[in-house]
């Protein structure tokens, strides 16, 4: 529940509540905004993000859809072209593959193919990531696939503030924005300044300042990286943690800037290594900051295996704090 503490002017809320508030706020601000997706209405959302919104806004604007990812994502694109500002929820990134045609072949390309005539102002939200023993078809981190596609903007809010405030910026954007919410974070609660307001969706943020090594990460891995940085501080290693926030475009300046300061890089990404987002970041650094590097780069990524069900195996298959700490030690040479 939302608790407002007037003394320090912060509000404590969960990630889920933050996203819900963002949707609610957007719907109140703009009649053109509506939410559409599987079980977003009566059921209250697969992850209870939209719980209660149907009572407030009705079935037209909190629109339950059949299990037709391609159909309703495409309908969202059409509605966007027709003057609406749809928020389309796809339950998980795995299911979004059923809508890949619409997202990649239509939403991302239309503006260009039409010579600039038709932009697609749609926001497509989806859960991503492992950590809840949901096994291989509900747990993957495929953000990097979308980040590959020109025409899309891809964001990954990792903090309560970003969960609350990225949506309005995404909706104001004239082009399609894919928003990845790490499913393990929905229950995470945290403080946010009461007077927090809209945030950009195209820059990275340093979440912890450090001197010795840069940890580049996003989404659910941010918190593991910060925990690792804490542990490292106790051993005299000062790690800077950079939260990408935007996976497309990548904030190259921020990445290069931090590496130019620390001269060492560890990339933490729950997605797979091969041809993945982490590979892109490392490539950027070698292209733009080769001569700043004072140690080999390390990547802490999802192990190249479909995410298994068993808890111990699942944990072993995605980045964990110990792995990040070990990678940093390796890079720092201690």
């Amino acid at each position: 529940m939302t608790v407002i503490d007037s003394r320090d002017a912060t509000v404590t809320l969960t990630y889920r509540e933050a996203v819900r508030e963002a949707i609610r706020d957007a719907m109140l601000q703009d009649d053109r905004v509506f939410l559409m997706g599987e079980d977003v209405g009566r059921y209250g959302g697969c992850y209870a993000v939209s719980k209660g919104l149907i009572d407030e806004f009705g079935e037209e604007r909190i629109r339950d859809t059949p299990l037709s990812e391609s159909g309703f994502v495409g309908a969202g694109i059409g509605a966007a072209l027709g003057g609406m500002r749809p928020i389309v929820e796809v339950m998980t990134v795995n299911f979004s593959l059923l809508a890949l045609d619409q997202i990649v072949n239509t939403a991302a390309l239309l503006l260009h193919m039409s010579g600039g005539q038709f932009n697609v102002p749609i926001v497509i939200r989806m859960a991503t990531g492992a950590g809840r023993q949901l096994a291989a078809q509900h747990s993957h981190s495929l953000e990097g696939w979308y980040a590959h596609v020109p025409g899309l903007k891809v964001v990954a809010p990792a903090t309560i503030e970003d969960a609350r405030w990225m949506l309005s910026t995404a909706l104001a954007d004239p082009d399609p924005v894919i928003m990845f919410e790490h499913a393990a974070m929905y229950g995470m609660s945290g403080e946010m300044a009461v007077d927090a307001g809209p945030v950009d969706i195209n820059t990275a943020r340093v979440r912890r300042i450090g001197e010795d090594v840069t940890i580049v990460t996003h989404g659910g891995s941010l918190w593991k990286s910060l925990e690792a940085a804490d542990a490292l501080a106790g051993r005299g290693i000062s790690a800077e943690v950079l939260d990408l926030r935007s996976l497309r475009p990548l904030d190259t300046d921020a990445i290069i800037g931090s590496v130019a300061k620390t001269h060492r890089l560890v990339v933490v990404d729950e997605g797979w290594k091969t041809a993945g987002l982490s590979a892109e970041i490392v490539a950027l650094v070698t292209e733009h900051a080769m001569w700043e590097l004072d140690a080999p780069v390390r990547r802490v990524c999802g192990i190249e295996v479909p995410i298994p069900y068993a808890k111990h195996l699942e944990e072993a298959s995605i980045p964990q704090v110990e792995g990040i700490v070990a990678a940093v030690h390796d890079v720092v040479g201690s």
Binding site: F72, G74, G78, G82, D101, S114, P174
Partner: protein, 323 residues
């Protein structure tokens, strides 16, 4: 039989599509036009007929075989040709080519080269119209091959479920590229597919422009009256190859010759002449005018310019919306 002006307009529209595309084929072989070029020759009655039943605010979503639809909507022939030349003066500034003709001014939303890809889009237009209380109709064209796609069924279901103002126009020319309908689908009565979504559906002779126009007119009227989505199966035939580089191994020449007896232009012309609605000199004049238009389109394209390479990265994100 409709009145004289109207029938002349339909005939002229079909003739324009025919001559324009013949010129396209010629220019393709001269390497002026490249990429894939899918010609509509033989199917002109469908676009001309259906689009004659639409209002200016109605939206059209078409396939990669869409020159006919673009011309029928009144998109400038010169800018279409320029697009195929890859010129910056093209309707899509040379970014789209033959398969991706767009025109905001005419509500033409492509030019979609993914089979079935345009169907969900049309549902979205219907939804937007409904949510904003606009009494528009969206006509979406697709081939019978698309009926095998999941997106067809998802879109049909959504449109019917939400009772949206969408006209589904299935251009059944019997072959999905080279695969005949009965070699690809269990149920070849396509209207039965629509019926399974409780959607009104008709089988229409797509070689007869007046029949098409009438069926489309009825459907559009019903949709605008709140009748929800409708489905038209327009039975037609393409006289030419699927694309340019196609030796047509999958069908007999005799079959093509057989269908050419139902050439929508020749048949309609003969019918009008028989009914004294068209004088031979009127036809000759029509031919001459159309040829002038086609030549003007080619001249426009020939005089066109290429977009500078420095502008390559335009239109990836919205910096300027051209409307």
């Amino acid at each position: 039989m409709t009145d004289r002006d109207q029938s002349h307009a339909l005939l002229r529209q079909m003739l324009m599509i025919r001559r324009f595309e013949e010129k396209c084929a010629e220019l393709y072989q001269a390497e002026k036009i490249r990429g894939f070029l899918h010609l509509y020759i033989g199917e002109e009655a469908v676009a001309a007929g259906v689009i004659s039943a639409l209002q200016p605010d109605d939206a059209v979503v078409a396939t990669y075989r869409e020159h006919g639809h673009a011309l029928a909507l009144g998109v400038d022939a010169g800018r279409i040709m320029a697009e195929m030349y890859g010129n910056v003066e093209g309707v899509s500034m040379g970014r789209g080519g033959s398969m991706h003709l767009f025109d905001a001014g005419k509500n033409l939303y492509g030019g979609n080269a993914i089979v079935g890809g345009g169907l969900p889009l049309a549902v979205g237009f219907g939804l937007a119209d409904r949510m904003q209380d606009r009494n528009n109709v969206t006509a979406v064209f697709f081939g019978e091959g698309a009926v095998a796609e999941g997106e067809f069924h998802e879109a049909m279901n959504l449109a019917a479920l939400w009772h949206l103002p969408v006209l589904f126009c299935c251009e059944n020319n019997l072959y999905a590229m080279g695969t005949a309908l009965d070699r690809a689908q269990t149920q070849t009565r396509l209207t039965l597919r629509a019926a399974s979504y409780e959607m009104p559906a008709w089988e229409v002779d797509g070689m007869d422009v007046e029949v098409v126009a009438e069926a489309a007119g009825n459907a559009v009227q019903s949709i605008r009256g709140g009748g929800g989505p409708h489905f038209l199966e327009l039975r037609t035939y393409r006289f030419r190859a699927h694309s340019m580089f196609d030796p047509e191994l999958y069908r007999d020449k005799s079959e093509v010759e057989e269908w050419k007896h139902s050439d929508p232009i020749a048949a309609y012309r003969a019918r009008l002449e028989e009914a004294d609605l068209l004088a031979p000199e009127e036809w000759d004049q029509m031919e001459a005018e159309v040829m002038v238009e086609v030549r003007a389109a080619v001249d426009f394209a020939e005089a066109g310019t290429l977009e500078p390479i420095e502008d390559l990265k335009r239109f990836v994100h919205t910096e300027e919306v051209v409307r």
